[in-house]
Amino acid sequence: MAQEKLPDNPGTVLTLTDQDVDQAIATYPFIVVDCWAEWCGPCKMLTPIVESLAQKNQGEIVFAKLDVDKNPETARKFGIRSIPNLLVFKNGQKVGDIVGAMPEAKLLERIRALKG
């Protein structure tokens, strides 16, 4: 289900769909979209890590998740071939993607490097 309305300052992980992902990318200056699917074990390992990062970095980095199985348009648009895959957008532009599960500290380091 799509977000009812995009919150101003989310401290939890937003759930995005093909319908509202573009709007979210345009709305937030820095957003990380965790592309996942039910069939993917490593994605489930990453879920609590992303939730923790969303809380700890509220006001600085917005985190969202998108189920690629239910939202194939977005997966196609960004050429996703592997999940978990975190798409990183800065000022509406894709600045990188992070493929595979990794520890929280390392993931945050990779995200911060893209934030500049």
């Binding site: 489930k44 890590i49 978990p84 993607d97 520890p103 500290a105 390392k106």
Partner: protein
């Protein structure tokens, strides 16, 4: 201080955890938060007894975890970097160092498993996540109608090739020999599957593409000058595994490939450190053998700790 620290959250570690918890040991299982047991990426396990219709790897590990928690096993997510000798209040023990702190215990059970080996060919690292994959259950659905190459000839390669036929239009198994190593039932299924074809006596020399994988360059092992190009949208690599045993280097004996050498009691060369499952030197790396090893390791660790405490029931000779 714990009686035992189990490192690894796969079938071997969780079985050791079930046995240790049921023996009322003060046990802690440390599992990697980001490097899950390889079996969790297998879509279907058909040779683990008790599941006549097969079971998914992730689901099976969840069941093991639930069973261990039911008996009170403490589980924490952390990445273990080192195991070292330690002295606590005049008692020799082991220290297990993680990224978010250290734990001490009288005994340690190492069940850290393996990870998939890389081919080490040009294009492999560059296209990882853009056509090169080590997880068919994660990435197979992105190749609906596509042409897929599977590299390897063992159980994993053939099982995953069969799984990929659910999505791909064609699957080519590239193997360096002229026959498969995989178990007979898998070989028969692969040969009967019209989507699967074979490139025998071939190794991948290079993976090429632009924004994603487009082809693999194959070399004939019998005639290295003979090369050909196979068009492909995806390359899945299952050519073998390497043990996650770096933390035991210099602490316990490893064989030349890095596998931990253990005796029939799962005891390593370091007193009080036991090892079980895929990370040990053994003939057959399967869920069922990992579970058996895990149970043995937990019992041996229990007897070892009881011996230290002077509470042994007896009958065990290390």
């Amino acid at each position: 201080m714990h009686d035992v620290i189990i490192i690894g959250g796969g079938p071997a570690g969780l079985t050791a955890g079930i046995y240790a918890a049921r023996a009322s040991m003060k046990a802690l299982l440390v599992r990697s938060a980001f490097n899950p047991s390889l079996i969790t990426t297998t879509d279907l396990i058909e040779n683990y007894p008790g599941f006549p219709d097969g079971i998914g790897g992730f689901e099976l590990v969840e069941l093991f975890t639930r069973q261990a928690l039911r008996f009170g096993l403490e589980i924490t997510d952390d990445d273990t970097s080192a195991v070292s000798r330690h002295d606590e209040g005049g008692h020799a023990c082991w220290k297990v160092q993680g990224s978010s702190g250290a734990h001490t215990a009288l005994s340690v059970i190492v069940a850290t498993g393996t990870e998939y080996a890389h081919l080490g060919v040009p294009g492999e690292a560059e296209f990882t996540g853009r056509g090169v994959s080590y997880c068919a259950t994660c990435d197979g659905p992105f190749y609906r109608g596509g042409r897929v190459v599977v590299v390897g000839g063992g159980d994993t390669a053939v099982q995953e090739a069969l799984y990929l036929t659910n999505f791909a239009a064609s699957v080519t198994i590239v193997h360096r020999r002229d026959r498969l190593r995989a178990t007979a039932v898998l070989q028969e299924r692969a040969k009967a599957n019209e989507k699967i074809s074979f490139a025998w006596n071939a190794v991948v020399e290079e993976i090429t593409g632009d924004d994603a994988v487009r082809a693999v360059r194959l070399q004939d092992v019998r005639d290295p000058a003979a090369k050909r190009t196979l068009e492909a949208d995806g390359v899945f690599i299952f050519t073998g595994t390497i043990p996650n045993t770096g933390m035991l280097k210099g602490v316990a004996d490893l064989d030349n490939s890095g596998y931990i050498t253990v005796d029939s009691h799962m005891q390593t060369s370091a007193p009080g450190i036991f090892a079980c499952g895929d990370c040990t030197r053994k003939l057959l790396r399967q869920v069922v053998t990992a579970c058996g090893d895990g149970a043995t390791a937990a019992f041996a660790a229990y007897e070892y700790v009881s011996g230290l405490k002077g509470t042994s029931y007896g009958g065990y000779t290390p």
